[in-house]
Amino acid sequence: MSDVALSIQNLSKSFRIAHQRGGLGGYKTLHDELMILPRRLIDRLKRQRRSTSETFWALKDISFDVKAGEALGIIGSNGAGKSTLLKILNRITEPTRGAVDIYGRVGALLEVGTGFHPELTGRENIFLNGAILGMSRAEIRRKFDEIVAFAEVEQFLDTPVKRYSSGMYVRLAFAVAAHLDPEILLIDEVLAVGDAEFQKKCLEKMENVVAKEGRTVIFVSHDMDAICHLCSRCILLRQGEVAKMGNAADVVGAYLGGERDQSPEVDFAPIESEASFQFAGLYNPKGQASAAFSADEALLLKSSFAVGRQIKGLQLSFAVFNFKGDQIFYSTISMAKPAISVEAAGEYNIAAVIPGRLLLPGRYSITLALHTPKTKLYDRRKRALSFRVVGTIDDSYDGFAEDELGHVYADVKWRRSEEPSRLM
């Protein structure tokens, strides 16, 4: 008995992007088709096919296997092909080339609440949605109470769902899908909805599905934290191709930080704004441009920007994110002592020192912004710079997994409480 749950071989999918030629918003009408028919016939006779459409490859030659019981994450920027891949695995759309072999029943949760009908009650929708997701009536009946309890909608079961709050709606939808019993579960971005508490509950349920029930899960998300948490292995898609595959933390790190060390100095293309960045760079204490720092080393962040006119309250700020995309801290120039004003028109060169013994070893990125707080954003450069912190600060930090250490290095002083305090 093989332990492969899913095998994908040289999978490709293309879409034809029709060039707009009249008609209402992209839909072809019969009239349009009939009008271009003579031209097509003539072209065919002349053996020159006039290209009225362009082929776009959403997936290019993808191959990988997923083992039974494995949780595989799929990440990538928008348009990388993640959702297309899931749609093919779920048979919503057909591949153009290649093959997929699936060993086991597939269940999918591609979007919460797709099978709901607003006029029907919660009870009726549980049956409808369950059946759409592939459950039999008996199966749904068996799990009905569990679903209702999970969704916390007992007293609204006989109310049409169109009167539900969006939170209730999402809870009910997730509850139905989460109680599916497939051997292979495909999940797309479902955790991005609902309030924080419910998201936590969903994540716990998912963890349960993966860890305790031993099901195979393929999980697409932009939530890097959830990916690292749930998945052992991860695939990074870039423009329809597998860019990287491996340990989840590594792949997520590569996605967020760029695979190689980025250049520590960046010249920005000017944008149309009254205040815009020109340059940013990272330097070590020796004054050398660098993208790798030892853990106890301070970082010098330099930035240059131009302000076109007097802007009252203009601030320069930056935030540092870890490889999962969690923000570690934020700082703005209004915190400077003594104060530095960047309100007047002109060009500025500003430096900020990020102290050593603050960041844990790992990959980080910096986002820069010029803004007047809560009113206007003049320029923002997301993940403008990225860097690595290498080595450990002291030996006692060795041997811990990245997850266990938290987010920052804390220079905690320990003593026996009966000893006289040296600090306080």
């Binding site: 296997d65 779920n90 093959a99 029943r105 797709t114 006029e119 759409i132 592939g134």
Partner: protein, 283 residues
């Protein structure tokens, strides 16, 4: 690539996904395995249609009744068309019972895929279930009309006969044709939204080309063979024969109807299967 070299799966895959080309098999087994979903969709169709209307299910009875009265007045009083010696209202209502089932199935299912675009582009299930569910849910309207028809029969003193037992047979034929038309139109309207606008006219012309407000006997014998190609002729006549016993059921017409019904259903189903693979991409 490394991942491809991993051990060859020993077990047979539960599902193989390959690009398909040309005509596809109907895959009736899969359709059958999704029968629970079909019933739930049918239930949904029925529940949703008359929700939040003051008269609710009364509309099911009211709509055809009003339509029948209007048509009976036009054909009997204004146009003075013959009705094979049967009271006009009864004659028209009888034809309308068969016709309404046909047209309602076709009409409701024609834009059903587009209305359920959310489902089609997000979840997998045999797409045929969506138009098919209307074939079944329209049976509710048919049952109500049939009940009213029996009341009319009692009022006009038409005795029921054993011929009534043939109604399910004619109904089955109607359902086949209606489903065929529904499959064609629902599949076409995914790509060409025009179909939704064209269908009502198409059905209206079809209705007047069928013996709903006039008897087949009005059509000259020269044109009868052509007339019989319209499958609606066969089942409207068959239906009248079961209820009123007046229309001489012409065996050739009947067999043409059977052939046309089978043709409509099969061509619709195969066409649907051929184009359904693109639904999610273009809907």
């Amino acid at each position: 690539m490394r991942s491809v070299v991993t051990q060859a799966p020993a077990a047979k895959p539960t599902l193989r996904i390959r690009p398909t080309k040309g005509w596809a098999a109907l895959n009736l087994r899969e359709l059958w395995s999704y029968r629970d979903l079909l019933w739930i969709l049918v239930e949904r169709n029925i529940k949703v249609i008359y929700k939040q209307t003051a008269l609710g299910m009364t509309w099911v009875a009211l709509q055809p009744l009003i339509a029948a009265i209007i048509l009976a007045v036009i054909s009997g009083v204004v146009a003075k068309l013959p009705s094979d010696g049967v009271p006009h209202l009864l004659f028209v209502f009888c034809g309308l019972t068969a016709w309404n089932y046909f047209s309602q199935t076709a009409q409701r299912s024609s834009n059903s895929l587009v209305n359920n675009a959310q489902l089609v582009s997000k979840v997998y299930f045999p797409r045929m279930l969506i138009p098919l569910s209307h074939t079944f849910s329209a049976l509710v309207d048919f049952a109500v009309m049939l009940l009213m028809l029996f009341i009319f029969m009692a009022v006009y003193g038409v005795p029921p006969t054993l011929r009534l037992a043939a109604i399910p047979g004619f109904l089955f034929l109607t359902a086949m044709t209606a489903t065929g038309v529904a499959l064609w139109f629902s599949a076409l309207s995914v790509k060409y939204r025009d179909c939704n606008y064209a269908l009502p006219f198409f059905l209206q012309i079809w209705m007047y080309a069928s013996p709903i407000i006039y008897p087949t006997s009005m059509v000259s014998t020269k044109w009868q063979p052509l007339f019989a190609l319209n499958p609606v002729v066969g089942f409207v006549e068959g239906f009248r024969w079961s209820v009123l016993g007046r229309s001489a059921l012409n065996p050739p017409i009947f067999w043409v109807t059977v052939a046309m019904s089978v043709f409509a259903l099969l061509s619709g189903a195969f066409f649907f299967r051929r184009v359904e693979r693109d639904f999610a991409d273009i809907i």
